[in-house]
Amino acid sequence: MSLLNPPYEVGDFFDEMFDAAREVRPHYRRLAEQLGRLPEADFNQHRTAVELAFLRRGVTFTVYNNSEGTERIFPFDLIPRIIPATEWKRIEAGLIQRITALNLFLHDIYHGQKILRDKVVPAAQILSAKHFRREFMNFSVPKDIYVHICGTDLIRDHAGQYLVLEDNLRCPSGVSYMIENRSAMRRAFATLFQTYRVRPVETYADNLLKALLHLAPARDDKPNVVLLTPGVHNSAYFEHTFLARQMGIPIVEGRDLVVRDAHVFMRTTAGLVPVDVIYRRIDDDYLDPTVFRGDSLLGVPGLVAAYRAGHVSLANAIGTGVADDKVIYAYVPKIIKYYLGQDALLPNVNTYLASDPSDRKYILENIAKLVVKSANEAGGYGMLIGPASTTEEIASFRTQVAAQPRNFIAQDPVALSRSPTWCDGRLEGRHIDLRPYILCGEKTTVTPGGLTRVALRKGSLVVNSSQGGGSKDTWVLQGDE
């Protein structure tokens, strides 16, 4: 019994596996053959084995509905998403270009603000941005790198062109799933791995550690790198412990650290141990109650002072959120041009800014046809998908946009590409996106692949874990097939 019978519906979308003539794309041929030969019972067996493995290993995320969080497995689909080498080369170049420009942008924003004085980006957008950290002005950061870890979300449009959907420059997550998914696939489809030459993702932790060590303030001893987590209550806690273990570094909470004389120490049973680099998975607001939110119990009093004195380095730096603001996103092509003199290799999705009067008019008139996003929400919240919304929802958003235009952008809906996904016994197309991870250390590297998120609900475009999304393994090939 073949998984490709009954015939798979490509629909009116760009499909990862099938071209317009319903022919299997060259880089998917071997997979198609394998799937064609695989009895459904075997496939189901693989599926259950993988789910069980995830459950046992605790590859979960926590959803908080009330005070009790429930741990869920991030649903995983066994059909991989395959990217040939030539395609990946272009993506990689585009991502490196983008993060280079964004790091230059951040440095400028927190120093001379030339781009604002030259009116390329309106000063008002930056100065009133929720994540613009005034406290961080004129700070010098190690190696002038602000964003060390970035997760940029990419989608493909109807023509198969890759577009940047958004950058995540604060605490991007999902890397642990990427690594766990790969492990699962190796076990489930060992033979398939042998036929393809898939570039490894397991090097991520090593590369991340290298990037973190690169930041260490000069000291003779081996630098002490730690991962700072908000703790067990955080939905990504699993990932925090996973990464810490993979890198072999201690995982700490705010209360395990203490600042003395503008130096940061870890409280251990053997005494105070100096800390040199902190990979922090806590948002700026909660990092240091002396400087940011005074009621935060997650942070470390005096941390910013130690950072300012250059005695400790943070990854990512404070204040990077100003560049992943959805409004600033619209200016990124201009930002790339301004600092690098180049056109963006990876285009943005066409975006309308509600703060611009003519754009605002367009948005309000056409809101039912557009995707409207709140500038500072994440996880798919604060978003309206016009064509799929009720009259009430549309009316509500129209009022919000008119009242606080600075907080909204709109985009033409993109017909996201689809990938064959196992749905209740048959393969159906489901919309996907891609989040590659970029590390900026001594070199800027992009992990080959990343997290492919899939919207599991039929027809849904929302891929986030908290709203019915799942993931797939992403294979970047050594060659083109």
Partner: protein
């Protein structure tokens, strides 16, 4: 084509141990041991009272009173309950959340501590504690009393053994292990003194009762609370004599619940934790532990009985408290409990 690469073995975890983690391991271990011991105490004494039909109401109340006195929570009990009988004492010691030493409170606290350091313990260990927690959460004192407390208390004991067994089997022999064992034996030593002390609080029997059925049964209950009946019999083949029971539970260096054995373990792990390698102990905690161990190695039972068994046991409890506090202070560089006195405050003008 290159062979499929194996994922690189996770690098060995740094050898440094966070104070907070050590602290949580220590308390997790102590609380589980505490829950088990309270379950033992309760189980045996309930059984004892069931077996003895000839007891008057007064002597039953006396019996329960003595049990409560030995736990040190007599006053707390009296503030919430009118009379001490099987039902009220069971509720107080097993289910009362207002009693920080109850089985419920202990298991909840153990689980909280385990949760805080979830990534440090094996998933089996976590599952064991979590299941015990869920088991308790789903029951009320009412349910237990109707079904019969013995099965419930058995479950508690078995869960504790399961947890400790899993720890033995899955926890690396590292600094964390030392804190776990230190906490366990410290708690067990303390609870053994209390098990022994139960008998003290029962008013000295009149001449008629000495050696009588009730007296012997009470001492038997003491041994049973420590699961020591069979071991005692192997050691002292003959009948159950009070001073021999006390001697066994205090001085035996081979029975794992006796005071001497536990304190020897406490001393061993404490020295490893504090890095005490020299023959002569340096730290306050190590000196206190060494003194206590020396007493247990050199004193004889008649010396103790002369001084007074109860007085001796109270002194031991104090020493154990001091040792525990000292180790905590020396190794934890942050407030042990963030109670209202140690909270973070904002100030501004």
């Amino acid at each position: 084509m290159p062979p499929p690469t194996k994922p690189p073995a996770a690098r060995p975890q740094s050898t440094v141990m966070l104070s907070r983690v050590a602290h949580s391991l220590y308390w997790m271990s102590r609380y589980i041991e505490r829950a088990e011991n309270v379950a033992r105490l309760l189980d045996v004494n309930l059984q004892f009272l069931l077996d003895f039909h000839g007891l008057t109401d007064a002597s039953r109340q006396e019996h329960w009173g003595s049990l409560l006195a030995s736990t040190g929570d007599e006053v707390l009990f009296e503030s919430h309950y009118d009379t001490a009988d099987s039902r009220s004492v069971t509720e107080f010691l097993a289910f009362d959340a207002r009693n920080p030493g109850s089985i419920l409170s202990s298991v909840f606290a153990a689980r909280e501590n385990a949760r805080m350091i979830r990534d440090q313990i094996s998933s089996e260990m976590w599952q064991a504690i979590n299941e015990l927690f869920l088991f308790l959460k789903d029951r009320t004192a009412e349910d237990v009393w109707t079904a019969g407390p013995s099965e419930f208390l058995q479950h508690i004991k078995l869960s504790s053994h399961l947890f400790q067994g899993l720890t033995e089997a899955t926890y690396s022999r590292s600094e964390g292990w030392e804190f776990i064992q230190f906490g366990k034996f410290l708690e067990r030593a303390d609870k053994t003194t209390r098990i022994l002390d139960v008998k003290y609080h029962i008013l000295l029997p009149s001449a008629v009762d000495v050696g009588g059925a009730v007296d012997t049964a009470q001492w038997q209950a003491v041994l049973r609370s420590a699961s020591a009946l069979e071991a005692y019999r192997r050691f002292y083949v003959r009948e159950i004599l009070p001073w021999k029971v006390a001697e066994f539970l205090i001085f035996s260096d081979s029975f794992p619940r006796s005071l001497h054995y536990c304190v020897a373990q406490v001393d061993e792990f404490l020295r490893r934790i504090l890095g005490e390698t020299a023959a002569r102990p340096r730290t306050v905690a190590a000196r206190a532990s060494r003194r206590l161990l020396a007493d247990l190695e050199s004193l004889a039972i008649d010396e103790i009985l002369e001084e007074g068994l109860h007085e001796f046991l109270v002194e031991v409890q104090k020493s154990l408290d001091r040792i525990g506090d000292e180790v905590v202070q020396t190794t934890m560089f942050y407030p042990t409990e963030l109670g209202p006195e140690e909270q973070q405050h904002q100030q501004q003008q």
